[in-house]
Symmetry: C2
Subunit: 494 residues, 2 copies
């Protein structure tokens, strides 16, 4: 067995360490020498690229147009929306100079004091301010609405404690920014984009999510309403996969964006924003993977099928090459991503462990005996089940199996999650059990006091007011004893 694999900490021993090790060992990403900033490696980026493309295709289907706005934002912009600046001021990177020069002694590089900026610029932590400052020039009449723009870009939030993919100072994301003539249309768009996210996360990443609304405390800085999709990791903790925000007229007013409506009246447009990021990679890894390494859903796997020959000598290898390259070619013809690995500088055992670590969904192995018997060994990564099959028709079998694995992974994760959603209206009971993970469905009186007390005493937070739960009779708040306003999902979270 490969050394890398033997070293992987088991989930039962230390889930957090397992995650950190897996991201590095599977060559997804690593820390760079810049504090809190990661390097996304080829294998990790190939997965991200597929997530990104799946999302982008769905965005285009619902009329989203891609654009690119500047990385740097004048700091005065940030302060125009009062809540927004409070939310982001403490984690912004600030650019104060624009020039370096080598100093006289050539000992290094020093800043030229004359090249100080008149107004300091921040590296975007999010771009509501930049978009709305520009929308002032774009939106004049009701004919200019709606504006539905999105950008795929990097953003920067200076985090003190970082973890690869889950929390990094720089990350990749998309940020959508829309403007609408009516409150209803804007709110509808925010909800629609949440559905687009959920569709992609569930059907491409095979990660089941709960859709809901954030409490006021957990809202995006400057939002009237924040919608969220929350997934459950294997340790029972929640991970927020994406959010969309109904921003009301806050940014329109802050940046003086007004349009003339059909009745010739000046109006402020209504706004939304929405985003998903490389954080989703963390959800993908922690939902499916196991003690042997990554488990990737076929829709995202850079390699969907790996084929390995086992041979005693060159003559046998030649025969296997001929047979297996034909299978690889047929599979590729079906649009399946195949790697045929007959490299002779690694033992089969090493290859097996390595492709398990990398989460390749299907492994096909053929030896000399198989060649004679017309058989082939197949292993599926999600269940680790092996079977020996007739090589005749293997391509059709694999094609079907990939789709079955995709479905199975989603259902397995859904079952795991559903078994850990606990209705609970007793606070003592909650306090005892919440540390073991799970989503607790509890009545909440809607006050910040109760929410703060729960967080302080249990480190758990209100993840969302779920859409799919009957809210007609929420019951009695388990902390305050007052009538509840909502049933909410409470959990510890990443």
């Amino acid at each position: 067995m490969a050394k890398e694999l033997k070293d992987l900490t088991k989930r039962s021993v230390d889930y957090s360490r397992w995650y950190n090790e897996l991201v590095v060992k599977a060559e997804l990403a690593e820390q760079s020498d810049v504090r809190g900033c990661m390097v996304i490696k080829p294998y990790g980026y190939a997965i991200w690229e597929r997530i990104q493309q799946s999302m982008d295709a769905r965005f285009k289907d619902v009329g989203v147009q891609n654009v690119y706005f500047p990385l740097l934002i004048p700091k005065s912009f940030l302060s125009k929306e009062a809540e927004h600046v409070e939310g982001f001021a403490k984690e912004c990177a600030v650019v104060t100079h624009y020039r370096l020069k080598t100093n006289a002694e050539k000992t290094g590089v020093v800043v030229d004091p004359e090249a100080k900026l008149d107004e300091e610029l921040i590296i975007r932590p999010t771009s509501e301010t930049m978009f709305w400052n520009t929308y002032r020039k774009w939106i004049h009449s009701w004919r200019d609405l709606p504006v539905i723009c999105n950008q795929w870009c990097n953003v920067m939030r200076w985090e003190m404690r970082t973890r690869l993919f889950l929390r990094t100072s720089e990350f990749l994301w998309q940020e959508g920014h829309t403007a609408h003539a009516t409150r209803e249309e804007a709110d509808q768009r925010a909800r629609q984009m949440l559905d687009v996210y959920a569709d992609c996360v569930e059907n491409v990443m095979a990660v089941p999510v709960v859709r809901g609304m954030k409490s006021a405390t957990e809202r995006f800085a400057g939002a009237v309403q924040t919608y969220t999709i929350e997934a459950m990791m294997q340790d029972g903790k929640a991970l927020q996969n994406g959010t969309s925000h109904f921003l009301g007229q806050n940014f329109a007013k802050a940046f003086g964006v007004q349009y003339v409506d059909k009745d010739n009246q000046l109006q402020y447009p209504w706004a939304t924003s929405f985003g998903v990021s490389t954080r989703m990679m963390g959800a993908l890894i922690m939902t499916h993977s196991d003690d042997n390494g990554l488990v990737l859903p076929p829709h995202l796997a850079p390699i969907q099928v790996v084929i390995v020959p086992i041979y005693k000598n060159n003559e046998e290898l030649q025969k296997l090459d001929e047979r297996l390259e034909a299978i690889a070619s047929t599979l590729r013809g079906k649009g399946i991503r195949v790697k045929y690995d007959n490299a002779d500088n690694k033992r089969p055992g090493f290859k097996f462990a390595d492709y398990e670590l990398k989460g390749v969904p299907v492994r096909l192995v053929m030896g000399g005996r198989d060649l004679q018997n017309g058989t082939i060994e197949l292993m599926r990564r999600d269940t680790l089940e092996k079977e020996t099959l007739q090589v005749e028709g293997i391509e059709e079998y694999v094609e079907k199996l990939l789709e079955e694995i995709q479905q199975h992974m989603f259902h397995k994760a859904s079952k795991f999650r559903d078994e850990r959603i606990f209705p609970c209206d007793n606070y003592d009971d909650f306090k005892k059990r919440v540390k073991d993970g799970g989503f607790f469905l509890c009545p909440w009186d809607g006050t910040e006091e109760t929410e703060a007390k729960i967080k302080e005493e249990t480190q758990a937070t209100i993840r969302c007011i779920p859409f799919n739960v009957d809210q007609t009779n929420p019951g009695i708040d388990m902390v305050s004893g007052k009538p509840a306003k909502h049933k909410v999902i409470i959990a510890r979270a990443y």
Copy 2:
């Protein structure tokens, strides 16, 4: 005629102003409120996205793997390669703080003096240093080579004079960074990537290019050899569309990257880097467009065919809708990007001018008379030729025509360019004619002195030592009178 179009300055009046106006009027991009940084608008971004995807597909065909490296680079990295820091130090944005806070009087936002960074960071102007600092961790053995990575990202070079797409402080690009076991393999990769660029620029953008090598003066900072593709704009000036660099062992040595070869000896790997940027949008616009607006090659056009009905009343519109939507649907079935524009808030004349301005390759127009006669009017944007055709079979005709337009645009640009490549070995003659544009193919003695004199006296630069020109008998340098080492292309450039 639409106001926007009437206002467009003619190329013959002021080519530079024509370009600036066209970029804005065709809604490709605009200046942002951050000095030198642009906003790429939906229409412009849709074109860039197609260029980007065409390049990326070609990269993958030649084994390039995408990655993502940090935006910020410790300033000490930059100074490790002596020539590199000289090339970039004066145009770097410097991050010195990482926190803002609202001040006591709430008058705005001020920097918290305690949040000053220990080591200042620069926003990447290019990432050789970051990649090679990381490659030290990736490359240990000959088995780890080659490394062939690329990232699509934003970079920042603080420019004093900026122009949309052509020269902006922030721009989008890709930067490839490779490491190889031998000098030959690295140099071969740099040349291969230049061919990949040329293939995409010529066949997708329909922009003909000259491939060649830069003079030492014009090399990338830190490169041993720089290869370039140079295109000729309609004013006869050159525009560098992309470059690839053979970097020797400079960065490997600067960052202490060594590997053990097959003979168990420590060796420094050989490097390349290569990049193309949103600057290519400038080349696209200036190669093809005319006084009516953009002319887009069909392979890149976000809308390839626009269909406009002309009607007297609703009854007629309904009949036209039925016929034209069927045509649109058939065209879409062929993978053609079609817009059917029956919006009634704009006059046909306005629509025609607008789609001309936006460079839509084919326009189909049908009126009530056409409907009766079974005819349709077609205009191709590249030649502005109109013809009335039988509507029967129009879809097949359009499909073929799009490919014909693509070819025609390339051949037209090639002819224009070829007619303006002037062999020249008389410096007085050169000085008289160079200001009128064109590529001058001249014998050069290979000295910096001659090169500097030409630049000072004529503002023209050596664009490249072209690959496709016989270099066996370069002749006599037209400035120094000494024996020439190369025939070079000299031109004024963007």
